[in-house]
Symmetry: C2
Subunit: 262 residues, 2 copies
């Protein structure tokens, strides 16, 4: 048995999220079924974390133990041949037995795409959140500066699995102008359930003038989910990087320039 | 009755092409049904030309006569409210009675997107043609220079409706490098049936080394469809501009810088 880690992208609009659920098509199930077809036995795939229904990934990381004589290169191609076209594994390497995609993860980076085009874009509708503008970019950037850093993010988490602490270090949070829209780029040592989408939903309320910039500090201090804005829809969200202490896929775990994308 | 012209974009992967066909979902039918729901009578919509199943448009133009008291602005929104989300009308203006989207058209511009990523991209699979590389860009550009200009393009047309002449002026044909891929940009006073896709398929054969650059002149001179390369798939193709002699939607009909996109 060897331990293997993979990097994969997927179009979340085709799946009921990452996590295996009986009777639903999920990314984890697609990988596990592909591996089972390949080696003939059940294999459990550990992702760096779950993504919800409709959320995309450009560079999710997963690991699993497998009994196979194939080289890394051949195993990579064999997995792609056994998984649906909406899931693409682009890197695979045999790794130390101690590596675990979830437990070894030190942080993640997400982007969230918003379109403010005058008309609903007919292309990529499952990959961008379209809103009627205008959104005040400067106000959103001011509010982002308040939210960035180490805080208790209880107000920005939907009720999920209970955790010992809701303190997270949101090491970067940027709102960047894009052609007919915006791009949010966020990095943290860990995200609470729906945290990215609630941060985005709250910042959009600031951008629209429904909330003041100064409200954001009060929401953070209140530690109450009801104070924050709505959970932004899944379609705009994409996991673009998982950070590990060790070098994975030729990439070191050292922090990069914030907002540099995946 | 007033004559109205519209500019629209659509995601061709949701339609059996532009032209109305009983029992199939087409763009023309979607517009005509929307207009019928709006005004209560049958309206014929004339497109600048057909697009095939799976071919996209960023800026198709169509015209029709309509009995309506609505202002142009209100009519635009009313049409969007009555058409599927995959069709978006972004401009509408009342125009001279003599304007006809097909008969008044003086030229068109298309782009064709090719991905040479190592693995099939999980995103936008209906909007790009993925091939295993490498493709020799320089050879393709040399062949493009031979094909550009005024020629009889019989070798680059699938059998469609018979025409008096297959001579067309391909005023620009560019092959541009893109991140993990290529973009073809073509402009002509008129395209024969499948002409863009056969030009692209032939140039890709040159890029792969299946054809020599010098073969291209021979193919052109042979006036025989069997000499050219395959018809490239619909997914990569997008109509990005229709050119008229008169100013439409605030845009004059004068020629623009080649390859400047839509």
């Amino acid at each position: 048995m060897r331990n293997v880690r993979i990097r994969l992208s997927y179009d979340g609009s085709h799946f009921f999220g990452w996590q295996r659920q009986d009777g639903f098509s999920t990314v984890q199930a697609a990988l596990e079924e592909g591996l089972q077809a390949l080696v003939g036995g059940a294999i459990t795939v550990h992702g760096s974390g779950r993504t919800d229904t409709g959320v995309h990934a450009l560079a999710q990381v997963a690991s699993f133990h497998i009994e196979s004589e194939l080289s890394d290169e051949r195993l990579l191609h064999a997995i792609n041949a056994h998984t649906p076209a909406e899931v693409v594994v682009d890197r695979l390497e045999t790794c130390p037995d101690s590596f675990h995609a979830l437990r070894s993860a030190r942080g993640k980076r997400y982007i969230y795409r918003v379109s403010t085009a005058r008309f609903r874009p007919p292309f990529g509708r499952d990959h961008v959140h379209w809103v009627r503008g205008p959104l005040d970019l400067e106000r959103m950037q001011q509010a982002s500066a308040i939210l960035a850093g180490k805080h208790d993010f209880t107000s920005f988490a939907n009720t999920g699995s209970p955790r010992r602490s809701n303190v997270r270090n949101l090491s970067s949070l940027h709102v960047l102008p894009r052609r007919e829209g915006l791009l949010f780029a966020l990095q943290s040592n860990g995200f609470l359930y729906n945290m990215v989408r609630i941060l985005v939903g709250t910042l959009m309320d600031v951008g629209r003038g429904r909330l003041e910039v100064s409200d954001v500090g009060r929401i953070l201090a209140g530690r109450d989910r009801d104070l924050a804005g709505p959970t932004a829809p899944a379609a705009g969200l994409c996991l673009v990087r998982v950070i590990y202490a060790e070098t994975c896929f030729g990439r070191s775990g050292r922090p990069e320039r914030p907002g540099s994308g995946a």
